[in-house]
Symmetry: C2
Subunit: 499 residues, 2 copies
Amino acid sequence: MTLAVGMRPPLDRLRALLANVADLAHAQQVLEWDSRVSMPRRGARARADASATLTRLGHDLLVSDEMAELLEELAPVEEQLGRDSVDGALIRLTRRGWERERRVPGDLAAEMTRVSNIAVAAWDEAKAASDFHSFVPHLERQLELKREYIACFPATDEPYDVLLDDYEEGMTTSRVTEVFDTLKRTLVPLVAEVGGRGRDDALLAGPFAIEGQKRACAKILDALGFAADGWRLDETPHPFATNPGLGDVRLTTAFSEQDLHSLFSTMHEFGHGVYEWGVDPAFARTPLHRGTSSAVHESQSRTWENLVGRSPGFWRWFYPQLQSIFPDALGDVGEDAFVSAINAVRPGLIRIDADEVTYGLHIILRFEIEQELLAGTLAIRDLPEVWNARVHDYLGVDVPDDAHGVLQDMHWAIGLVGYFPTYQLGNVMSVQIWRRAQDELGDLEEQFARGDFAPLREWLREHVYQSGSMYPPRELLLRVTGSDLDPQPYLDYLTTKFG
Amino acid sequence: MTLAVGMRPPLDRLRALLANVADLAHAQQVLEWDSRVSMPRRGARARADASATLTRLGHDLLVSDEMAELLEELAPVEEQLGRDSVDGALIRLTRRGWERERRVPGDLAAEMTRVSNIAVAAWDEAKAASDFHSFVPHLERQLELKREYIACFPATDEPYDVLLDDYEEGMTTSRVTEVFDTLKRTLVPLVAEVGGRGRDDALLAGPFAIEGQKRACAKILDALGFAADGWRLDETPHPFATNPGLGDVRLTTAFSEQDLHSLFSTMHEFGHGVYEWGVDPAFARTPLHRGTSSAVHESQSRTWENLVGRSPGFWRWFYPQLQSIFPDALGDVGEDAFVSAINAVRPGLIRIDADEVTYGLHIILRFEIEQELLAGTLAIRDLPEVWNARVHDYLGVDVPDDAHGVLQDMHWAIGLVGYFPTYQLGNVMSVQIWRRAQDELGDLEEQFARGDFAPLREWLREHVYQSGSMYPPRELLLRVTGSDLDPQPYLDYLTTKFG
């Protein structure tokens, strides 16, 4: 492979090589976005092949002899550079990626991408038809591939550790279990205590015309920091955010006339988008140019969805506008009643629509099931039954069909096994970071009530977003909050708000 | 580059290598489509880099040592295989691509892609502001690159021949000049004779609500052969069609309330789409899986736009539906008057909106100017002046601003220099092929009047589309029509219809 990197200094050659890897990832992200937003259904097989080839080419560049030689050549440089050196971080992060990628055969990497494409298309149809059976072979294949992938790595305490580490550097299954056990001890009795309180379905019965929801989402995004020439918002069955390259942030959301969940999923995805948008543009086309981990990413999506988007201050600003968009549905609903209704604790079926208290139980359930599936102690054919039983146990609700049960999330179809825990770790981190922001910025609620989100956004940009992937998640959290991962502030927040 | 092609037979290895090249082209086409349809404006620079990298990687695969060895190994096989052998055609076409690509340095190939991305973004803004000046440096850079590109090839009679051959294998500047001179001898007096005849602007004054135009386009496409699960139609300032991979055909069109041009540009792009759609699916992920040349492609877009879309039979079927969509604008306009109005010869400013008679003059003008720009006998700064003067000479109309003049087409921004003549060659071929279809299918007009386009579409699929790029354009034309390129049927058609 001619890369025109010639005889330049090794760091320049590293950057040139990484720019090519980043460009392939850029294309890959556009293909993924396209396959969910735009691609005609019949294009899925050809797309799966194309996407797999990009994965293989990126893999080959990353594990090339040239990369190995550069990393060896740069080892002494890395040692000399401190923790605050961009170049040092770049070498460290590249080495981490190389160390992982070189263990995985190119064929396996490509096949994982190919299967993800096929499985997502199958999941789309299975969910629409609420037909778990048709999705079984795809889930089986994904789990086989996950086991093959795990087998590429040195043995860990738990096989699940290998997957976790891809999303959350340094995180282990035992640490997640420990944190989740702590959470459960508070969440389960809290749900029992306050579940259903504040719930008044009639208040939010709608209908809310989708055109109006789109206008509301646009107004909210504008105020939060959406730049029309650098962002876009589309509609997909499952909301997501992506950032193929500098100056190009894409969010999606889902609308239903029956509720206002679209507003919260839009703010959630805004949190992902604004994190990527805020990374130092000088990091473009390097692995530093993205959020440092899934949990830190989710801490930001959950911040904007919940800590901002469900706060009384936010609605002091936006509720009159929402009322004017939906005069029939909301004209007679007072602001306090509305804020109380969107914060009601209502154990339900759908994770992404869950309130802040029950959300964690949706995650814990998935975390447990993923481990059992991987270990083979839970057979795929039994999955709906086990899912439904556990939803009943944890949340006290009955699952009417698989579309509202085990088929609701696309994560397993894409091959995201081990990702779910990072949502809840993100919740935990979000409050740790939030407390710090409050200390420095004063009364955030009062700022939100004026529709002013810039101080918070800029503070987060400076302290969290800007550094991209320079610091591993644990180090970033320590730098921002002075503390390691700690569930206590999150639990205090929940018990104060809901207890 | 590990390609997992191992020690398989050389043809299998060739196919595996070509599949990777095709996958990169797939990604490249999605990136291009995305950059015109979806991408936020600020993403253009990053996109230019990513797109350039894909070009380079594709180039590197195509000119790799492995490819050179395979082609050498396959030379005797190619000789044994006849003209109707798919494998033989695949080797021939790959060799042609390799022969051209290997002369071009990877840096130049990548830079051409990068500059195209940047220049298109600049053209978009320049056209919107009708500001030629801001576009000058981009056009300069494009012409520099074209000259560098031409210099990679052995000397030809005309430097322009090198560019032509990329779009139209075997075509030369002198042959185009000869054909165009023949056309001019008939077209110029014909325009003088019939220009303005049938013109009654009041009949088509509109306004035509864009929502209604969208419905009309959807109805037409459905009848012509649009498959909802394999095609899509979007809106862009300049219409185009693309086909990233099997089962994924994408058209765009442009709407204006003032006229119904959108219907014709939609049918034009349908012609491109249905050609690609009709190629043998077994050719997927090979260079055979596309139309054989630009002129043959344009012959099909012009067939569906004009020979079908401006025929009385077509409107016998569709006009009542169009009237019901636009009762205010068309309720009092009779079918004959409407058909006459959409076939009026009205020398105008915009190529893509031109009638069938004046269209050729738009092309001849561009063909002449491109050669002068390449030769340096026309300076870029003088381009608007020369453009406007020549539009006045050929078409008798005055150009009010550059947006309606030299900035109207995006071709030069993308780097498509040498492409324009293929539109007019396509017109010529379209009538040759049409005559043959009429001989075999009988009264096409009568079929169209019933809304039945399947016989024509399937005949074209069988005779033209299916073979993809198996035959060079001249050979395909000979196989379909029994004749070489011949302007006479086209001129007969025009003089009969308009003279």
